[in-house]
């Protein structure tokens, strides 16, 4: 084919560069995953396949700490992503469906700002804010901070989805005697569902995996999974950390995959 000449795949070094990128990105994850199944006490010497470190995570000496941290993480992620998704859905409805209103552009900017701001800045700012208003640090501060930074992650897929829904459906519903509320619950919400689910899963993962902000705003003695892992690593890396990381990785992959598939499913066609 004549086109082949201009195909990016035919550029010199394309293959090598691709492989290099993939290796840099994924080799560490692959190594951690493989060594989580290591029978050895060492994190570098392979001694054979074993699930002992997974057993250790659930019943070893540190299991209580990890279980509590995991419980905290999931509770925080569920609460934060639920609230963030609700806020993001309303925000998307207003911004995408609200017509032209003053500060519309500013609103979009404000909502996506946390994506651009370095996380450490958000973390410090949030910490200072809580100190300033005299808020005791604890689970609640973590939840509040997570809600705040989860909103843009929930907002993006929801807004993208909403932009794809023609407003003639809402007009047709109104024309057929539906009130504004009925239009929202019977037409808009079901059509937006894939975007909402996708946004929920994405913000859930972002909350579950967050370390920097959590570390700043958490109170003494409260740990989430990422901060617990960090704490454990400071005392030396043991293979059980790899087992936890691998499980966390698995949860992330599953959720991101579901999010992707759901957002691709198009119920308007």
């Amino acid at each position: 084919m004549a086109q082949r000449k201009y195909d990016i795949k035919s550029y010199r070094g394309f293959g090598a560069m691709t492989i290099l990128c993939l290796v840099v990105l994924y080799a560490p994850l692959v190594v951690v995953t493989i060594y989580s199944f290591n029978a050895s006490n060492s994190i570098t010497v392979w001694e054979g396949l074993s699930l002992r470190w997974y057993v250790d995570v659930f019943s070893g000496p540190e299991s209580a700490k990890f279980k509590l941290a995991a419980w905290n993480s999931f509770v925080i992620a569920i609460i934060a992503s639920t609230i963030a998704t609700a806020i993001a859905t309303l925000a998307a409805t207003a911004i995408v469906r609200g017509g032209k209103f003053r500060l519309r552009t500013a609103s979009i900017g404000l909502i996506s700002l946390p994506l651009m701001v370095p996380e450490i800045v958000t973390a410090v700012a949030t910490l200072i804010f809580f100190n300033y208003i005299g808020f005791d640090r604890g689970l609640l501060t973590i939840v509040l901070a997570h809600i705040a930074f989860c909103i843009p992650f929930a907002y993006l897929p929801i807004a993208a989805r909403m932009q794809g829904i023609e407003d003639s459906y809402e007009q047709a519903a109104m024309d057929l005697y539906a009130t504004k509320r009925q239009v929202f619950t019977r037409i808009l919400l079901p059509l937006m569902a894939p975007g909402i689910i996708s946004g929920y899963l994405l913000s859930f993962i972002v909350s579950l995996d967050d370390f920097i902000i959590t570390n700043f705003v958490k109170g003494a003695g409260i740990e989430t999974l990422p901060t617990a892992i960090f704490g454990a690593v400071k005392q030396g890396i043991k293979p059980n950390i790899m087992a936890i990381s691998t499980m966390l990785l698995a949860v992330s992959i599953i959720m991101v995959t579901i999010s992707y598939i759901v957002s691709k499913s198009d119920n308007t066609k």
């Binding site: 023609e166 003639s168 459906y169 007009q171 047709a172 519903a173 109104m174 024309d175 057929l176 005697y177 539906a178 009130t179 009925q182 019977r186 037409i187 079901p190 059509l191 119920n267 308007t268 066609k269």
Partner: protein, 363 residues
């Protein structure tokens, strides 16, 4: 308030402005009860805007809209007892065909069972019962169109508004749907307000047509009236094909005007109010009202020469050039060809018409 119940929709001095742009310039028209009424005009003429004002999707800048005597311009769309068939149908993609049709009834407070049974009847009416449990995306364009129709008719609206509903269908399906729509209107007895830019469609289906252009009503009347007696140049040109010629008026007497076509040719036209002797105006005569002969016939005859024949299946179009004058397009039906003389290019002929076939137009 109009007490007259024979008027379904009464639009009074309606104006629509978007900022500085005026989409509708003071339109007044009355749509009668149980009428198939068409708003016809090129895109941008304001016909869809007017329809959406009746439906409630656009507010009325000035003027009033009455529905059977009730002022509706301040009601939100869901409180207006009219339903719309949208150009792209706007069937709810996440609901089955049956639920789509039942939606309006449910929103009006019918129980789910009642709404569904009535929706079933509506689907029977449009012959789609076997598809009730499908999703709209699994239907063809023509079927979706009929679902949209059933959905809009199910709540028994006081008027059905149709926004170019046939424009997405192919030619054959369109013809079939035109008839079906017309029959449906008769069966249901509901007032239909139909928006289209297709003049043929409008002529075929309507009881009355309002021709619009640039936000203004150009002419309102029965299809035949609009076709045979176009009031102005826009209507004559937009509806059907016509010979549109610039003429100057020589004399006016007894409702007829003798006009100059240029090149010494004279023609007697129907006189229209507002045109005086000496005026330079336009004249319109339909190609099918003309016939060709070797010798001058009774009525009006003009001498010319055949320039070209164009064969178009059902008829033949002949272009005739008057010496030093304008061209005339003549349409001859393609029937009885054996008896008919075919005039070849170069033949000296006469273009004939009955007295009154040619009409003067106001600009």
């Amino acid at each position: 308030m109009p007490e007259d119940q024979s008027i379904a929709i009464d639009v009074r001095d309606a104006v629509k402005r978007y900022g500085d742009f005026t989409a509708l310039k003071t339109i007044s028209l009355s749509i009668l009860d149980n009428e198939f009424f068409t708003l016809l005009g090129p895109s941008g003429c304001g016909k869809t805007t007017l329809l959406r004002m009746v439906a409630g999707f656009e507010d009325v800048t000035e003027g009033e809209i009455y529905l059977y005597g009730e002022e509706i311009k301040n009601l939100p769309p869901h409180q207006r007892p009219v339903n719309t068939v949208f150009q792209n149908y706007a069937l709810f993609p996440h609901m089955t065909v049956l639920d789509n049709v039942a939606f309006g009834l449910e929103m009006r407070g019918r129980s789910k069972a009642q709404a569904r049974s009535r929706a079933g009847e509506m689907l029977e009416l449009v012959q789609l019962s076997q598809f009730s449990n499908r999703k709209p995306s699994q239907l063809s364009g023509g079927q979706q169109q009929r679902v949209a129709l059933a959905r809009a008719l199910a709540p028994q609206p006081k008027a059905l508004l149709l926004d170019e509903p046939l424009s997405a269908l192919d030619q054959k399906l369109r013809k079939a749907m035109q008839l079906e729509l017309k029959h449906l209107q008769r069966e249901t007895g509901i007032t239909f307000v139909f928006v289209t830019h297709d003049q043929e469609e409008a002529l075929t289906m309507s009881d009355r047509i309002a021709v619009m252009s640039e936000g203004e009503l150009q002419q309102l009347g029965a299809p035949r009236d609009i076709y045979e007696h176009p009031h102005n140049m826009f209507v004559a040109d937009f509806i059907g094909e016509t010979n549109l010629l610039e003429v100057s008026v020589d004399t006016i007497a007894n409702g007829r005007a003798t006009c100059h076509l240029g090149g010494g040719h004279e023609l007697t036209c129907n006189q229209v109010d507002g045109i005086a002797v000496g005026a330079k105006v336009h004249m319109s005569v339909r190609p099918e009202r003309l016939f060709i002969s070797d010798d001058p016939a009774e009525g009006e005859s003009l001498k010319g020469r055949v320039q070209e024949n164009i064969f178009a299946g059902t008829d033949i179009t002949t272009i005739i050039n008057l010496a030093d004058g304008p061209n005339f397009t003549v349409r001859t039906s393609n029937s009885n060809r054996g008896n008919k003389r075919i005039f070849e290019p170069g033949n000296e002929v006469f273009v004939n018409m009955e007295l009154g076939a040619a009409r003067l137009l106001v600009d």
